[in-house]
Amino acid sequence: MAKPQPGPPLWLLAEVTYACPLHCPYCSNPTELGDKADEIDTQTWLDTLSQARELGAVQLGFSGGEPLLRQDLEIMVKHASDLGFYTNLITSGIGLTEKRIKALKDAGLAHIQLSFQGASPDINDLVGQRKHSFEHKQKIARLVKQYDYPMVLNFCITATNIHEIQEILELATELNADFVELATVQYYGWAYLNRDELLPTKAQLEEAEAKVNAYRDAQKSGPKFIFVTPDYYETRPKACMNGWGSTFLTVTPDGTALPCHSARMLPLQFPNVKDTSLETIWYGETDFAYFRGDDWMPSPCKTCDEKDKDFGGCRCQAYMLTGDMHKTDPVCDKSPDHHLIQTAIAKAGQSQKTLVYRDPKNAIPISIAETD
């Protein structure tokens, strides 16, 4: 049966480099970070942005790694805004200066999303493994608002910083954020290596969520807080990427086109913007289309009346946990592999191992369970 034809790729995530001045152990980048020499050049990015806009993409995220490490970022932002994209810069703030904030504004940048690793210098600088970064991020947040950008603050919540939730709420309010993502991390890439150390316990999560709700209830104005619980504590999987190849298109630093930023781990051959047009990538018959529709679905998804809601969950998660990317996401309590999630939850808060900080010198392939 032919796969369904998708609508336009509304969201383009441009991962312009994997290089990063921080070393967060929860990073979702692949543990094989690739070679900086393989990064695609400015012109290839500009062509890619033009093609994506032509196909109907409208939201554009500049991400990485740390996108500010690309000295041509302003050129890309200018080109993208001229094309009519809504441009989002997703940054750690390291490398951001008033001069660059102004230059990016002049280039038409619409929004800055700034990450924090904690609400205190102790935790923030420890998680990112960079001294004085907390102080710097606060300074940058004030400048972002001074230059009238909408500002989203992103706090990646893990067992390391979840005890600071109250301080995080207060910090975000003080910094005048418009939206605040309190995102308990998902376990991909480096975060998967460190899962047992990073996954909060259910009790920790419930306490944090209660504090967020109480804070929200007392709020008259100020930031809009969005609390994202980790899917490990759900009984149904997330509608990953709104459905494979339905809405999102990621281009990685070397030009590989992926349906999501983690999909490179899957045993598939993804096309590259260096030699394939985005139109062929999006509408053609490469592995980019592999999990579109529901023909691929195993039991229990195949006959499940919720399959149009969650699309069988996350292919990367199925692959990491079971070794078979075609299986039902083990988060689902109807999955025969759901015990793998329960085992991970049982280990939360127990691990004595040290965290593996994201660092090219620690880069190792993820060990994948082999089955069959």
Partner: protein
């Protein structure tokens, strides 16, 4: 009544590929139906609700009588969603 403005967090633009107006904001998008788009296009920081109604009446002379209620309803929803601000 005070003038209505689009919240500067949001950007209203026509998208050819989707053949509709959309509201864009950090990492998000709302697709607008034609009447919602027509109302938001009138939200320019100068007009109050009554002026918006009369602008839409002259733009769409064949619109039904109860258009005022529909506009009020949408403006109230848009305010609740923080898309527009008053005064």
């Amino acid at each position: 009544m005070s003038a209505l403005s689009l919240n500067p967090l949001y950007r209203l633009q026509f998208e050819k590929a989707q053949d509709c107006y959309v509201l864009l904001f950090p990492e998000g998008m709302v697709k607008l139906n034609p009447s919602a788009a027509e109302i938001l296009l009138q939200v320019d920081g100068n007009k109050d609700e009554a002026a918006i109604v009369s602008a839409l009446r002259s733009k769409f002379p064949d619109a039904p009588e109860d258009i005022d209620a529909d506009i009020a309803d949408f403006i109230s929803k848009a305010t609740e969603n923080n898309w527009i601000t008053h005064g």
